[in-house]
């Protein structure tokens, strides 16, 4: 079994080796799998490199051609489709049916929200919006798995360098940025809260309000550094706020679905306001989480 099997041995031996499970075919995967050192036969470094380069060159010769063909075909298909679709804004388009009519005419009385968009995304189709909030929550969790500092993805030198950079930023603080941020941040927060609370009656709501809130926190953190941000937003508060937001939404909307589906009396009149707040918290945390994780690898 330890007989040497390579491309030059007879087919019978190769077949026997293959049935035995002894075969070790050359690794043909492209760019990806880790390469195990070959037991018997090993090409020299130069030969290996040359072959690899050859393969890459072939790949890059074909790749642009294939990509262009696919893109052109796809564009042609989509353009043909668009030309045959109902025109934009025509009165008798299929989308102007009883659904949009009901959203526009009864949205306010049925969901208690003057703003039709809020009525639609939280009142009528709130389950989808819950799903979208879960997407945001998951996106941060996925980035945390990838970037949160741990012994595998950070070396001591990188940590040291990061500390040096932060110390440098503290000593040579950007005065213009700090002064502007000092004036602007309170107004940004105020505006964010206004948009969040008035999502029911005017344009705005959880998603837009949350984005503004997140942008405010990012501005503050960029101007005044990590330490001062961590006074009100350390990892613990961050994760509490984030999970509290989504939990609030899920629980409220769960009760709402249970009531609605079973035809029970509805006592959740103020629900939309609370859900808007919850969505806002989730969105703001997502924004700030991305910023912090990508720039420092921690929150």
């Amino acid at each position: 079994m330890s007989k040497k099997i390579d491309e030059t041995s007879g087919w019978l031996q190769r077949f026997a080796a293959w049935v035995d499970g002894d075969r070790e075919p050359p690794d043909r995967t492209l760019l990806v799998m880790e390469r195990r050192p070959h037991r018997d036969f090993r090409p020299t470094e130069e030969e290996f490199e040359r072959r690899e380069k050859d393969r890459l060159r072939k790949f890059f010769n074909w790749y642009p051609i294939a990509a262009t063909v696919i893109c052109v075909v796809m564009a042609a298909i989509l353009l043909t489709t668009v030309m045959n679709m109902p025109g934009f804004g025509d009165e008798d388009n299929p989308i102007n049916n009883e659904v949009s009519e009901r959203y526009l005419e009864h949205g306010a009385e049925e969901t208690g929200s003057e703003n039709v968009v809020t009525a639609m995304i939280i009142g009528y189709r709130g389950f989808d919006t819950l799903g979208e909030s879960c997407v945001l929550f998951l996106a941060v969790a996925a980035v945390m798995i990838l970037l949160l500092r741990d012994e595998k993805n950070t070396t001591g030198r990188e940590l040291h360098q990061l500390e040096r950079e932060e110390a440098g930023a503290r000593e040579h603080a950007d005065l213009i940025l700090q002064q502007v941020a000092k004036v602007l941040t309170p107004f940004i927060f105020l505006f964010a809260i206004y948009v969040l609370l008035n999502g029911e009656t005017s344009p705005g709501g959880g998603f837009s309000g949350g984005t503004i809130l997140g942008a405010g926190v990012i501005l503050f953190s960029a101007a005044f550094g990590v330490q001062r941000t961590q006074r009100f937003m350390n990892r613990r508060t961050y994760s509490v706020v984030r999970t509290f937001g989504l939990m609030l939404y899920a629980v409220l909307y769960g009760i709402y679905i249970f009531i609605g589906a079973n035809g029970l009396p509805n006592h959740l009149a103020g629900m939309i306001l609370l859900i808007d707040l919850a969505v806002g918290l989730v969105v703001a945390c997502t924004m700030y989480g991305f910023y912090a994780l990508f720039s420092r690898g921690e929150i």
Partner: protein, 504 residues
């Protein structure tokens, strides 16, 4: 007032979502693991009750997710087929976690383990929602959730090749979601609806009047292609071996066994509830699906034959098995769909079993993955060896194992169609090819190597790995039992599937 049991599908979806949020706050990985196992078990029990209720009552019901009836608000619809699928999915999810437990706690850093379980819970939620949804857009939202969570499952075992595999997987997945979303947008603008029953009526109307024929065709094509890319339909399968072959054992089992199936179930729902089988056949989409399925069956197996890395071999074998499922859909008959649904169940039990056993066999061989180094490993954990054997024999299609029954049903389904000869020959060829790579693998694990080779492999093994693994053995026994149940007592199960397709 509806019967209380009709709330159970909604309870199971929300249970999984809430558990996903909750596990993000649990500090200890072990506690998060037990919460997740509990949620899987609870969801299996809830959905089993729903299965009993819908099958015995021969009914399916629509449950409004909110206060507004369709077509104004979200809704889910539940019949015997959906309840059966979700029960099996929840069970297999729990079993895969239990079976891959030891690898999982080794491969993932302690401070990140809870995040892994967040992903697992959300994948469970998205599988349940994709199976139950009666709203095409809810389908899209949960496709997104399962995309992110599935990529995170691959990258949780944090090494270079896995990160590259994740990036490829993410790109292909996003292409798939994008195509699905464009298709859905086109469909919405020519019909004006998102809820499946109203969509179906509108599509019916378009078929009669002949309006918007091109957008309708394109939308069918894009939705099929999008879901095809995500479930590794043949020409779009290249991301799969790296992603499934490199991930930690439990992730491979969940991704191969379950996540791929979620998208296929959504495609089935779109075909049966929205477009109708006749339209799919008329537009030629069925033939395309059939062709891709058949090619996948052959080329997946051929690629698997060339692999010596056991987990990549299993991953390529998934491509072939997904080909079977698409072939059943492509036949364009109800019998074909029943066979596909049965094969979804068989593969959902079989592939996790194979991945778990492969993970265990490689753990007792010093985490070597090539077949050469796994020689005689079955004697070091006989349970894993037997489990792998059962899974492999079922994949080949030996009678009494689950895989045989699904091949029988595929062959039966192909008889009344015009594709009989081609389909039967492909099934035969694919069976031979399956045997050609599973039998050498079985020989490799059961034949003792020369003493010095074994000693060389054993030098890499930690003493702890050879100890009896209770959680794995329990999972092993459960999945082996499931394969025998599917292979011997299949009549009640196909009855449920037939009732489910009728009531869908």
């Amino acid at each position: 007032m509806r019967p209380f049991i009709e709330n159970f599908p909604f309870f199971s979806i929300f249970l999984a979502i809430l558990a996903g949020i909750l596990t993000a706050t649990i500090r200890s990985g072990r506690a998060a693991y037990w919460v997740t196992i509990g949620v899987c078990a609870a969801s299996a029990v809830l959905n089993a009750f729903v299965l009993e209720y819908t099958y015995l009552g021969d009914l399916s019901f629509t449950y409004t997710m909110g206060r507004f009836l369709a077509p104004y608000g979200n809704a889910i619809k539940c019949g015997p087929l959906q309840a059966l699928l979700t029960t099996v999915f929840s069970l297999v999810m729990g079993t895969s976690l239990a079976g891959g437990r030891r690898d999982l706690f080794q491969d993932i850093l302690p401070q990140k383990q809870r995040l892994y379980f967040v992903m697992v819970n959300m994948i469970l939620a998205s599988l349940l929602a994709l199976t139950y949804t009666n709203d095409a857009f809810t389908g899209y939202v949960f496709i997104e959730i399962s995309t992110i969570a599935a990529c995170a499952l691959v990258m949780a075992k944090d090494n270079g090749p896995n990160l590259i595999a994740t990036i490829r997987y993410l790109f292909m997945s996003l292409v798939g979601s994008g195509l699905f979303l464009i298709g859905l947008t086109v469909l919405n603008s020519i019909t004006g609806y998102l809820l499946m029953p109203s969509l179906s009526e509108a599509v019916e109307g378009l078929k009669v009047t002949g309006d918007y024929a091109i957008p309708l065709t394109v939308s069918v094509g894009l939705i099929t292609a999008g879901l095809g890319v995500k479930s590794a339909m043949f020409p779009f399968h290249l991301w799969l071996p790296d992603a499934h072959g490199g991930a930690t054992t439990a992730s491979s089992a969940i991704l191969s066994g379950l996540v791929l199936k979620g998208y296929i179930v959504l495609l089935l729902l779109m075909i049966l509830r929205v477009f109708s089988l006749e339209l799919i056949v008329e537009l030629g989409a069925a033939d395309v699906i059939l062709a891709f399925g058949v090619l996948g069956m052959i080329f997946g197996s051929l690629a698997a034959m060339r692999e010596s890395h056991i987990k990549r071999m299993l991953a390529y074998s998934s491509v072939a098995q997904i080909g079977y499922i698409f072939m059943g859909i492509g036949l364009g008959t109800v019998e074909g769909l029943v066979a596909s649904c049965f094969h979804i169940l068989v593969h959902a039990c079989c592939k996790p079993l194979l991945f778990l056993c492969a993970g265990r066999l490689s753990a007792v061989s010093g985490h070597h993955k090539s077949l050469k180094n796994l020689r005689g490993s079955a004697y070091r954990d006989v349970g894993a060896g037997l489990g792998f054997t059962v899974g492999a024999l079922s994949m080949i299609g030996i009678p009494l194992f689950g895989g045989f029954v699904s091949k029988l049903y595929f062959a039966n389904a192909s008889l009344p169609t015009g594709m009989t000869a081609m389909t039967l020959l492909t099934i035969a060829l694919s069976t031979v090819l399956n045997a050609l790579y599973y039998v050498p693998a079985l020989l490799a694990i059961w034949v003792k190597p020369p003493a010095e080779d074994e000693a060389a492999v054993l030098a890499d093994v930690h003493a702890g790995e050879l100890a009896f693994d209770q959680a794995f053995t329990a999972a092993d026994i459960l999945l082996v039992a499931a394969i025998f149940v599917l292979g011997i007592f299949y009549h009640p199960i196909t009855d449920v599937i037939e009732a489910g397709v009728r009531l869908i």
